[in-house]
Symmetry: C3
Subunit: 338 residues, 3 copies
């Protein structure tokens, strides 16, 4: 049996670290931010870190890993964490890591991700392997295109053939274009309680695509230069129609269930399904993130959903800390860390 105060919680200073560190402190842990030199100001000003460890680059994480081990730190991964460290380095890490490392390859490889979602009976958009078969609106995505630069829509094989000419030699994927509103569903599954929780929903704020609707159609045509890009620069809060919750819960539970078969002991902690909601009130999912995503950042004080279940402000960051605290109290930290 142990106590939170003998342990630390550490993460990289970026992405969703503010809520992770604040949540750690709220649950009684020491909070450690590993920051790139020159990027540490937010973690000082917002007073969320008991200790800031500076590195020249996140790539230097291995140099401070032993320090974290000595401080009894549990390391919390987030989106930037995996992006900066890479999967190989994350798998190699010896410091205690919150989450199931075996799941990482399943979410980062597009075809494995589709296999997982399919096993979980989640609706995903159709992929056209042959442009000749395009029979509905599609979006053509280029590999490695930062923020979706150059993505275009097409409605037929002929339309596609004409538009692809401007992109010679590029690798692309032709995806069914679903017209519906974007939706991000934030879940938490605890191995200790065995229960799925809905932590909230959000809308992303993407530059420049969320501003082009503010340009009249006439002016867009006049400028002749408005190409949408999809760089996420923020998030705003959202609740969904209550009658859609049973389906949202079912999807979350299916994804957890399916993960047990492909990557034992399966997915736990925070995760996110990312897709659209169609006018027929159907969820079509493009992606799964098997860790905390920035879409939970509007909910440092808890969301309208966590306020139903918890009598205190419960951010996703704090929920992680509580999961770890409960595991420590039961002497079962092995259940939530690797």
């Amino acid at each position: 049996m142990g106590q939170a105060k003998e342990w630390s919680i550490a993460t990289l200073g970026s992405h969703s670290a503010l809520q992770i560190l604040k949540g750690a402190k709220d649950e009684g842990f020491r909070a450690i931010a590993v920051c790139e030199r020159g990027k540490e100001r937010p973690y000082q000003l917002f007073r969320v870190a008991d200790e800031i460890i500076l590195v020249d680059s996140f790539k230097d994480f291995p140099k401070v890993e032993q320090q974290l081990i000595d401080k009894h730190a549990v390391v919390i991964p987030h989106g930037s964490f995996i992006a900066h460290m890479g999967i190989d380095e994350t798998e190699r890490m010896r410091a205690r890591y919150y989450g199931n490392k075996a799941i990482l390859r399943w979410e980062s490889d597009r075809s494995m991700e589709r296999e997982w979602l399919t096993k979980a009976r989640i609706d995903i958009p159709h992929i056209f392997d042959d442009p000749a078969r395009i029979d509905r609106p599609v979006i053509v995505k280029f590999h490695g295109a930062g923020g979706g630069k150059g993505y275009f829509l097409a409605k037929s094989p002929a339309d596609f053939a004409q538009k692809i000419e401007s992109h010679p030699g590029k690798k692309y994927q032709i995806q069914e274009y679903i017209i519906g509103v974007p939706i991000y569903i934030h879940y938490f599954f605890s191995r200790l309680t065995g229960e799925l929780e809905i932590m909230g929903f959000d809308k992303r704020y993407e530059s420049n695509v969320d501003s082009i609707g503010r340009i009249s159609a006439r002016d867009q045509m006049a400028l002749a230069s408005v190409d949408p890009s999809y760089v996420v620069v923020g998030n705003s809060p959202l609740v969904i129609r209550e009658s859609l919750l049973p389906k949202a819960i079912e999807m979350g539970e299916s994804v957890v269930e399916a993960s047990r078969g492909i990557a034992p002991p399966g997915l736990f902690g925070p995760f996110c399904l990312e897709g659209v909601l169609t006018p027929e009130q159907r969820f079509v999912i493009f992606e799964i993130s098997a860790r905390i995503v920035a879409g939970t950042n509007p909910y440092v004080q808890g969301s309208p959903y966590t306020a139903l279940r918890y009598d205190e402000p419960m951010s996703t960051g704090r929920r992680i800390a509580r999961d770890i605290k409960e595991a420590i109290a039961q002497g079962r930290l092995d259940l939530v860390t690797q």
Copy 2:
């Protein structure tokens, strides 16, 4: 005189039931959710219900009505409640019902609703009975069109004549098209305090109309298939320009005042005015909902407006429960239920 704990609050498990049930518990009531079998998970996971009564369909409500009466339940209507039960069945109900049943026909009949709003001196859009008189942009709405499917805009009698050809034999209404931003104003009027309160504002999240602006004008023209639909799938929080509040308050009070003449003892409890705000800062109202609407769901923890008046989180659901609690304490449950 009575106490909340001897009473229950019950509602159908959908729409805004989470905040209604949570609010009931916060005010000391037993919370009962009547759920369709297979749709009960949200009410379990969020732990808002002391009891869940399962029915095969909401149409079976009459079968459980006696149970609710036996449990001293006050039934709270919401949008889905009226939609599922129908007005006749709601009027017939013997279980205690929060609200004034006499108001239901006034909000559900389009012409009675216009009469009510007109009596209250609320600006409403002009209706063109004769297409030949179209002298400004109009929106043509079809009767019973789910989510606004097929609605189209027209700017002149000729434009209308051409576009209506694709919809032979359909019944329609020609409404002035007001270009302005959508706004939903959430009110609460208590017969016990005699005061109007503003509970907040929201923006709806409608599929697919809230995503078409993310498609560039060029791509919309290319796809040739982007027809807007207006299915509400979510809500997001909003505050309005403070100098517009006196007008918003005046409109709420006028609507309550006018309701006393048409349906004594008049409107009380939560209600909502739904419309647009024009660039001239004029409210034009399309609809009134004489009960709790889903646009209050972002405010389970209270809104920026309820936080001014109350020192505790005051959702609209909880405000209802408090109204009932105060009525019970005064021995005047007859003031708020029928």
Copy 3:
């Protein structure tokens, strides 16, 4: 040394007065609203004012100024305050004023504002003095155009020449048109702590420009009458990508630092940088407001950012009151008022 309870906080009843008055009460001050007759209802209904002083018009403020002085009131300026009073009258005011009056001319004069932002090394849009030099998309703004009425986009000298013909004799400014999502950054700088704080971010809700994206491109072209206007009618909450916070903090500190040179003792209290975020994650700033702006109104209960630093709900209004309270406690009210 003094105590909050011997002092009052007063402001004009409009703009952001609700949170200013509520914040004043939360910090132990008497809260006084000076309201135009007929506009006082919000301040009564939300119960934020200990006293309401009625005037026929805000222009009559000087008539009640002695009353405020007698009540030991500190007057808090907001956007409507300066708009209604004018700079001359504000500078003349003898009642204690929270803020640095010397900064007012720097924010209200467009060229002085550009000089200040340039000194602070903030990216601002390019201004074209000569239409012949237009080499990228520009927005043409007319002087004194309420809510941006008539503003148009152009992409070349020829395009400009053609479009300006519809506006004979009007004074205009040709500004580089940056395609990116609008962002409003809310800061607070305290002279007592010497620290910058980020109070939050918001998106404005502008009529009608935030509704035109809901009209399909086809219908916009058909109506031939959709001219965007930019009248702010509301605000909604937003968080930004965490990795952008170091830059946001740096900009805030630069602006404060630069203000010390141009208007000693420099900017303090709440202020706001208003601009866009480009797909390259670059902030381009159009305007600075050197006082509380309405974009903080969503955060009466505090924002996701203030919740990190403060254990109690900290609106910008309350943060002002606390600054004054701390100044009083230290016997240094001269540090924050003039």
